[in-house]
Subunit: 414 residues, 2 copies
């Protein structure tokens, strides 16, 4: 992508109406745009990052047998009344609106009810189970406050998978596989070392649910971590009884603030009871389907990654989700322009994604933008460098600069 063809611009001024670092940096770098509190548009570079995160999550969901679908934003009142969750007393984040043809509909904050209803058309026998539909969807939550940038949205991008199993045993096997799949997602996004499977309060069908919490000073949750066992406990269930249950002692636990970056939950037959999702078992008996839900928000992940991987110069994207691998800076006259053009074409032909700063701008401005946007590697082509047959290669994370020959550069980037 050529910067001259990109309509966004960076800005040095910190947006006055944002208190969160992720929103400040992402807006300054031209990745997102604030429509209103908790509601952000994704600009070209931000869209690429969000797509890259989404693709990592998609691959891991497919790897455990997920079937990708796309449910609807508009929700039937009757379904949610049946489950008892239409009331604003029970679910306090509803947006509701009226149909021109009469009646009220809601904007989906989650999708247990419509998917359970949908599956009634496809599940009747034990042979139809287990199944794991999932989707990426805009979710809506009518939050009273939304000051955390991408980390708490009124409208946000969510992956939700639901498991439909024959019984608890089949469910638990998958639940554990999903916990591992989630940890693979965080590892691939560079958050592996900071993210803990965290015991949280369960429901009628399980003692615990599990959150995935990334340690961060901007977190809204307090967790207690056992580094030795690589697990954590949410403050809400941090009791002597739970510690004993998990074979942990207070002495080994470290208190941290953290951001919830995913959660998995044993729903049991809560929704299959309410909406009557049954199947005929191998022995001929009629059973309720045993369910689980599994959420990850790619937009929130983008927020926490922006918070965590940044420094005083701007963003520092991990290579696999950066909007480009290389930021190519061209400085000087016709000869350097020609060499830079050739390098741009060559890297693209090798499927190395390049953001080419082909603008007529000061070198300092180009370097500053490369840093603010957080592109992993900066390559500079200038008249002086050409004289020495070399390219300047700078690592965004370490700041280290080397002079490389053409072949050395390509070997580095391949």
């Amino acid at each position: 992508m050529r910067i001259s063809k990109l309509f966004t611009k960076t800005t040095k001024s910190v947006p006055a109406d944002e208190v969160s670092k992720n929103a400040q940096l992402l807006i300054q770098a031209g990745f997102i745009y604030k429509e209103m509190a908790g509601v952000y548009a994704y600009l070209p570079l931000g869209k690429k990052v969000l797509d890259n995160i989404t693709q990592v999550v998609r691959e891991e969901m497919n790897a455990v047998g997920g079937n990708e679908i796309s449910l609807t934003a508009l929700q039937r009142k009757d379904l949610w009344e049946t489950s008892g969750r239409w009331s604003d007393e029970v679910m306090d984040v509803w947006f509701k609106t009226d149909l021109a043809s009469g009646g009220q509909v809601g904007l989906a904050p989650t999708h247990e009810e419509p998917l359970t209803q949908l599956m009634k058309g496809f599940i009747s026998s034990y042979k139809d189970l287990p199944v794991y539909p999932y989707q990426f969807q805009i979710k809506f939550r009518n939050e009273l406050r939304a000051k955390s940038g991408l980390m708490r949205g009124r409208e946000f991008w969510m992956k939700d998978l639901y498991s439909f199993s024959r019984d608890r045993a089949e469910h638990e096997k998958f639940y554990d596989e999903m916990a591992e799949a989630y940890m693979r997602v965080y590892a691939r996004l560079g958050l592996g070392d900071l993210t803990y499977k965290t015991f949280a309060s369960g429901g009628s069908f399980s003692k615990y649910s599990h959150e995935f919490q990334t340690v961060s000073p901007v977190g809204e949750d307090k967790i207690y971590i056992s580094k030795a066992k690589n697990i954590a406990i949410n403050e809400e269930v941090y009791t002597d009884e739970v510690l004993a249950d998990l074979g942990l002692s207070r002495e080994e636990m470290i208190e941290e603030t953290a951001v919830e970056v995913g959660n998995i939950f044993t729903l049991g037959t809560k929704f299959s009871d309410a909406l009557d999702l049954s199947y005929t078992a191998e022995d001929g008996s009629v059973q309720k389907v045993f369910m689980g839900s599994y959420g990850i928000g790619p937009s929130r992940l983008m927020g926490i990654i922006a918070e965590h991987f940044s420094d005083d110069k701007g963003l520092v994207w991990p290579e696999n989700i950066a909007p480009g691998k290389v930021y190519l800076v061209q400085i000087g006259g016709d000869e350097s322009r020609k060499i830079a053009d050739e390098l741009y074409d060559e890297l693209q032909s090798k499927d190395i994604s390049v953001i080419f700063d082909d603008r007529d701008a000061r070198p300092g401005a180009k370097f500053a933008d490369a840093e603010l946007m957080g592109i992993p590697y900066r390559v500079t082509v200038s008249d002086r460098l050409i004289e020495n047959n070399s390219y300047e290669f700078t690592d965004r994370k370490t700041g280290q600069t080397e002079l490389l020959t053409h072949d050395e550069l390509l070997a580095k980037l391949d």
Copy 2:
């Protein structure tokens, strides 16, 4: 994809609450699910078709210089009041809802206002123009009636691109390029021969807008076509004056019903006036940006393609948007299962997408599903065929069947 891992099922019974053929067929084949009138979920195979159509549109938008972004569903009342389109009298398809923190927001039926406002942060000089941001987004329209399946949704999947140009001349050049890009989209989707660039009513800034109309008996529009000139006129502007203006005579025009599958519109300075989107021209004067809008609905396209490419046995997808290229049917015992498994792996390794009917089901049921789902090529592996070292290859469109050797089969599919 193995059918045994796919949770959807086909059904012979026509959904009683659907009058449109596209919704009936797509529901019967397990591609979509009706949440409520005009609101459909996409199941795994339907999601693939929608993604494939989306990708065709994306490639053509990128080819004309589009920058992909993603705007928000929730809309600021104040912006739409500024342009005069918040009122239900002016825009009668609004869904509106209340923020928990106070104030009303709308669900976007289109995005001129928020994008014009957004671009104020990025356009100040003639050097910033032209630019062509676009997005795929769920759009919401509070339709009184929605009986046409995917062809008229209350919630639907839309591509909208907006052009921001220096002046009318620059705008018109791009407008014509977009008309060609749209025709390339329809050609790639197999609708080229049926789709006409159609003159429709313009606005304050242009004599005409242009629709793209696909001839179909289920269309809601009436158009008049000149086959010789390969253009059409919408009934609403079908007058002697317009005919004369376009150098056409009534004699050469054929009346048809048609479905609008896209539209392009010269917005002029309507929104840049209302929201004050200006730039400094090369001569130092301050000018309003000249805008255009360009819409295509991939979900509606999926509906019209399902209507058009179907027969009494079911859907007949064009190869490039089908959810799979091959429907592999396995019949018989262990030997045929082994051969079918090997073929499945081999085709996948060659990036040929296969839906593998590995179920323990009657051959007739498998053949019927292959036809209902509309997969372009059916390949059958059976014990009898193996004895003759052959594979049965059936073309969904023509119904023609051939017996092929392994090498002939691969040559056909490559």
